[in-house]
């Protein structure tokens, strides 16, 4: 089985190279092949041709709200890099329609178009299916929002700048326990979605680790919108907090209905809760929601303050974590390209693997030996309609 795949990959690579030669043949044919290699190193690196970067984002479908933030973040980053000069990026954004099959086609298209690196896709579900396409063709991938386990285990070309749930949730539980003196909680999660189920498993492990008693575990479907029967159950158990692993679509009615029923204890959410829509749509009910995040919007890091100001000026809205991770993603790619001063696929891969203590809007970030990002998480609580750092 192994041989044919390798052969296929070689053939694909070969055909890409041939196609690249073919298309360049008419004009500046000679320059085409080596044009992605520049001169100088680091900040002085100059590459004449824009480095092609493909981004597969969910711009329509269930994850559209995340994809839109990511597109904004990427476009802003490309603009800032353009101003910086030396190396510029030809950013090609395609929609995977929140559909893994569409994600595969988009990845195949990028591989054939000869992009140097692929960003995305938005959801872990789609990433698991599309990433092998890039891995086989030897195109580096930088995941900017996927938090499921095993994303980077798919191959040595797969990297990510997003913290996993397994990195964020234990910190969330520990800090919430310290802040509220949690002793007993009720856990709720949607059990028909891979992302929320893996989030639940991490929560369960973290709660056990911290010695917090789980009074009951209630499940629902990701399509559910009426949570009153479950919440009534939860309320009767008088927990110190309600722990929820759900996507934002379920999180909003869940939080609203919990407050309506008089559940005033903190609601601790997974990554799905980490979205300004929560405050916009749930209004006052969102107060007291605790959520761990990879990005601290209130950080006084000047890089971060500049990012927020530029984003607000360009889009007239506050950036969320997805925008920040996307912005940081392109900056990380820029650092990787500059480290070898080359936009060739393998040079970018080497560059990504070598990222250490790089200053980003997410904080000081390193890529570890598993090609996952490491940086400090932040635990936030909703106060007066915005995320504040939980003390």
């Amino acid at each position: 089985m192994r041989r044919p795949i390798t052969t296929l990959a070689t053939l694909t690579t070969l055909s890409v190279v041939l196609a690249a030669c073919g298309s360049g043949g008419g004009g500046d044919g000679a320059a085409e092949d080596g044009s992605l290699v520049g001169e100088g190193t680091g900040a002085d690196c100059v590459i004449d041709t824009p480095v092609p970067v493909g981004a597969a984002l969910s711009l329509t479908g269930a994850a559209a709200s995340y994809g839109e933030s990511q597109r904004n973040g990427l476009e802003l980053a490309a603009e800032h890099l353009e101003e910086k000069g030396g190396v510029t990026y030809d950013l090609r954004i395609e929609d995977d329609q929140t559909d893994p099959r569409q994600g595969i086609s988009v990845f195949e298209g990028f591989v054939e178009d000869g992009v140097s690196v692929i960003i995305g896709p938005t959801l872990s579900n789609g990433a698991f299916q599309a990433q092998p396409v890039a891995q086989e063709a030897g195109v580096p991938v930088l995941a900017i929002s996927n938090t499921a386990d095993g994303i980077t285990a798919q191959g040595d070309y797969i990297f990510r700048d997003s913290l996993t749930e397994a990195q964020v949730i234990p910190q969330t539980v520990a800090q919430a326990k310290a802040a509220f003196g949690l002793e007993k909680v009720v856990v709720m999660y949607s059990n028909d979605d891979a992302f929320t189920e893996s989030g639940y498993e991490v929560f369960a492990a973290a709660l056990e680790e911290e010695g917090v008693e789980v009074l009951d575990t209630l499940t629902f479907s990701k399509a559910d919108t009426d949570f009153r029967p479950l919440l009534t159950e939860a309320k009767a158990l008088e927990p110190d907090a309600v722990v929820v692993s759900a996507l934002i679509e379920a999180a909003i009615p869940l939080v609203t209905q919990a407050r309506e029923l008089g559940i005033d204890v903190p609601i601790i959410g997974g990554n799905g809760f980490n979205n300004p829509k929560l405050m916009a749509d749930a209004g006052e009910a969102a107060e007291g929601v605790v959520v761990g995040a990879a990005w601290n919007s209130a950080s006084d890091n000047p890089l971060n303050a500049d990012f927020i100001a530029a984003y607000e000026e360009k889009y007239g809205a506050s950036p969320d974590q997805f925008a920040a991770q996307a912005y940081a993603g392109l900056m990380i790619i820029d650092e990787a390209v500059r480290s070898g001063c080359s936009g060739e696929r393998d040079a970018v891969k080497e560059g990504l693997a070598g990222i250490q203590d790089f200053e980003t809007v997410l904080g000081t970030l390193s890529i570890n030996e598993n090609r996952d990002a490491e940086h400090e998480a932040v635990v936030q609580i909703v106060e007066d309609g915005t995320f504040a750092v939980l003390e």
Partner: protein, 291 residues
């Protein structure tokens, strides 16, 4: 107590939705599968009225009722009337109404996009009551009252008015009704309009109850609506009412006494048991066609 009320609120919406379903079935012997699309469309339209036009939710509901009625006329005219002369009119109407439902949903997606839409956070009155230790919002009480009023109104309409008499005549025998001077086409169109208007109000109330509207919300309730009218007795109005409330309560108590993962299994299993004991449904007569 809280769970009982939870079940009643959601059950009354199921009932209102199912009554629209069963009305068309009982009188015209047609299954209108565009009904769930009307349910979803009206939720989005209701949100649009409140959000963009700045209407209060109390004013938006009658508007939604009228819009639903108009959609009903469209459904009758486009999906059912052209096919009524065919020997397989039942089946053809079923299929064409599914097609029309698909078109409605596509139009909604074109207009509103695929995302979840919500009422603005301050659209609802904040009044809450304590009823025997249970928390109840003014909105929930309104949902129950509106649902019951509409259902009582419909029962009176069918039982006491000239139009109701014509409806029952058509249900009995359309040919005979026509011979006796009943304008069958007009009664048919009116029935569709009333049915869809009720489905539309159910959709708007559902969106208010859970504060979210999705394109798939009609499909989610479609199965429940069908289950309710079968259990209640096909075409029986009181059957749909009782069936809807029963399903709402069954779901809630399944959560309380068995476990949340078993909710649908228990609720639908219970409905099966009822059908085994009473195959014609709770209120269904042996002669199935009635109003």
């Amino acid at each position: 107590m809280q769970q009982l009320l939870n079940g009643l609120f959601i059950g009354s919406i199921y009932a209102l939705f199912a009554i629209g379903f069963t009305l068309v079935f009982g009188i015209l012997d047609r299954l209108n599968l565009a009904h769930p699309a009307v349910f979803a469309a009206s939720a989005f339209i209701g949100i649009e009225l409140v959000d963009a036009a700045g209407m209060s939710i109390w004013l938006a509901l009658p508007v939604v009722f009228v819009v639903g009625g108009l959609l009903g006329l469209v459904i009758e005219r486009v999906a059912f009337r052209p096919l009524k002369g065919r020997p397989d009119a039942h089946f053809a109407g079923l299929i064409s109404s599914i097609a029309l439902a698909g078109m409605f949903i596509a139009l909604l997606q074109w207009r509103y996009g695929p995302g979840t839409r919500r009422f603005p956070a301050d659209a609802f009155p904040d009044t809450r009551f304590q009823v025997l230790g249970a928390q109840v919002t003014l909105l929930q009480v309104a949902i129950l009252v509106i649902s019951v009023l509409l259902m009582v109104g419909l029962t009176l309409l069918v039982g006491r008015t000239r139009l109701g008499r014509a409806m029952r005549a058509v249900a009995e025998n359309p040919t005979a009704a026509r011979v006796l001077g009943v304008n069958v086409d007009r009664v048919t169109a009116t029935t569709f309009a009333i049915s869809s208007a009720l489905g539309a109000v159910a959709g708007a109330l559902f969106a208010m109850n859970v504060n979210s509207a999705q394109l798939g919300m009609g499909a989610a309730i479609e199965l429940k609506g069908l289950a309710v009218i079968i259990v209640g007795g096909m075409g029986s109005l009181p059957g749909a009412l009782v069936g809807g409330l029963l399903l709402g309560l069954a779901e809630v108590f399944a959560v309380q006494y068995v476990g949340s993962s078993w909710r649908d299994l228990i609720a639908f299993g219970l409905l099966f048991v009822i059908l085994l004991l009473r195959p014609q449904g709770l209120f269904g007569a042996r002669r199935v066609r009635e109003v």
